[in-house]
Symmetry: C2
Subunit: 372 residues, 2 copies
């Protein structure tokens, strides 16, 4: 499946809390064909460090497909022979240096000043992200969504769609996610990342565009993020306590490293190189702020508005969204009268299993999408 | 119980891996009285950020007693009417600015240069820490220990005592600890803390003595440490998702904080102010290196040397030493022919329950200490 990035533009976005954003631009991809009745659309929402590239490849030599390619495509649960699938980059997307990402965030040019917003960008919420998606979906002539689905921050968006546009959403699939960001995560990795970026002398209060960027601070942030996204048993089983170099025993010098340090740091630095530090700070706060209903209602009132059927898919070893938290959402949904079910990914892969091992839920996803 | 710090000095310490330390000094405390037969001694070993102040108060106006005061004292499980209890500061103790701590580490004066060691200090291991304790205990005329016990890094020491001096140790109590540092912890908080300290411009490759110290880097390190020492359910139950200031909603500005951020950061900054950054780096590596037997033997060979009875006390919500890891130690001990039992602290308090809720194990501790 060869896919290409498309561009959606919005002249004005009234923000949920206050303020207006002008000239909003986000990238999006579509897979499959919209039916003449426009009743087969599914929206896929991406995770914190992800992009709209949910499935397919950009060209025949592209090595790595989109993150949920295992479940999106012809004959797969998100069957592109049946459904028309839309996936959009969020506001404040981290990967501003990826040529396939289009987003509006702190690294964007403020049309009123002609320079990057930096820290003058307004805070945005999950609700604002889906307001843009809503405008995109409506611009395609779609009035109802067969489903909205996503992992992690994508699960927040799926749930918030069901709360904010109850008449439009038939099914919502909340993968390795919950009804709010866990307070533990507000500090770790949230506050940790912010402290690290602010500590990096290249950050300069967010005014680093065109200069050296705070890559060391970001590398620390992604080291924490990557580690919390993996479970302790996964760390045991894969990298363990081996030295990075058998001839440089960590017993002999502080500079000698364990393999788990060098491997995680390599991943962290690769991710840092694609990321805008200010966008990290903004999108982390967007997540920290998330509680269903966004503080305008009680949690119960917000869930009570939902008319969609909800499928919750936690992972047994998830440290980001511990299963007990997904279970709490399930109970709250049912108490609010919502039709909600759950299927647990059994894995020691931690939070990342919501992306890397999502095929384990293939049968359940297929049945849920085909259910009346 | 009023206690006072005493000083133990050792002219030379041959290090486990290589090198010699001269003029080693550590502080210690004792509670209770050594019997004429010198057969009632118990050694208590402290955790990573702790000190030898395990019980009692330094004076009648001292507000906070030692960390295990709830189980050490007259009539308590570690009954000072029966036992003579010794507790020593480790090498590289973090709290060099605490007037009640005496340690030898990177912040100490190198007798050969007259200036602080800084990063020229040799790496030390848990084995080196107990070698000093062994010399201290022998200097008091003690040939056998009724028990060795400690939480977390103190549990490493208790276990390593049983491995290294099998003929001296009758009982070892390993609280919220295991047979090795989990690889997940090598990165988080280990590597995270090191990245943060190195990122702080005040660190200056460890040559900051007499100048501004890398307190921002340390504050980040302790934020991570404090959060991992607490469980997610604890975070939910106590600080939750409330704003730090109800009039400064985190929805409105990035500078507005959640209560959990400000409370954890307050604790982190208090701990940072007492801590030497280089000592943090060194003692973190000391922990990262710990695997029973210290790499000279296989894990099984090391455990096979033990003649002591072992009591393992995990906490059900511990993220530092997940209960499955304590269970692994228990199984390995039994397979090595060691008499080992376990008692789990049921708590959502996380790793810190090994200090703050240790009274829950009072009955089991008393029975274990009184057992033949």
């Amino acid at each position: 499946m060869i896919v290409k990035k498309q561009l959606f533009e919005l002249d004005r976005l009234e923000l949920f809390r206050r303020g207006t954003l002008k000239q909003v631009r986000v990238g999006y991809e579509t897979y499959g064909r919209l039916s003449p009745a426009k009743d087969n659309a599914i929206l896929i929402c991406h995770h914190f460090s992800g992009t709209s590239h949910a499935a397919g490849r950009y060209g025949p030599t592209d090595q790595v497909p989109g993150y949920w390619d295992g479940i999106i495509g012809p004959g797969r649960p998100f069957d592109t022979d049946r459904y028309f699938i839309v996936s959009a980059d969020t506001l404040c997307n981290l990967n501003v240096k990826d040529p396939n990402v289009v987003t509006t965030g702190p690294a964007s040019i403020n049309p009123e000043t002609g320079t990057p917003y930096g820290m003058s960008f307004p805070l945005v919420t999950i609700r604002d992200i889906i307001t843009v998606q809503h405008a995109l979906v409506r611009s395609l002539g779609i009035k109802r969504l067969h489903a909205v689905a996503g992992p992690s921050m994508g699960g927040f968006q799926a749930l918030e769609w069901a709360v904010a546009y109850p008449e439009m959403v038939e099914r919502a699939i909340v993968v390795v996610s919950a009804g709010e960001l866990h307070p533990w995560l507000i500090v770790m990795p949230g506050r940790i990342a912010e402290m690290a970026i602010r500590l990096d002398p290249h950050w300069r209060n967010g005014d680093y565009y065109g200069k050296a960027e705070p890559l060391e601070g970001l590398a620390l942030a992604f080291t924490a993020l990557t580690m919390i996204a993996r479970s302790q048993p996964w760390a045991d089983r894969t990298l363990g306590r081996s030295p990075a170099d058998p001839e440089r025993n960590p017993l002999d010098a502080l500079e000698h490293r364990f393999l788990i340090e060098t491997e995680i740091e390599k991943v962290a630095r690769e991710r840092a190189a694609r990321t805008d530090a200010n966008s990290y700070l903004y999108l982390a706060r967007t997540n920290a702020l998330y509680g269903a209903g966004m503080g305008l209602d009680t949690y119960e009132e917000a869930l009570g508005r939902i008319r969609a059927k909800i499928l919750v898919i936690p992972c047994s070893s998830d440290l980001f969204f511990p299963p007990y938290q997904s279970h709490k959402l399930l109970i709250a949904l049912r108490e609010a009268g919502v039709s909600a079910s759950a299927f647990a990914l059994e894995s020691d892969g931690g939070h990342l299993a919501g992306v890397l091992e999502i095929q384990k839920a293939a049968k359940v996803l297929r049945e849920f999408l085909e259910s009346p």
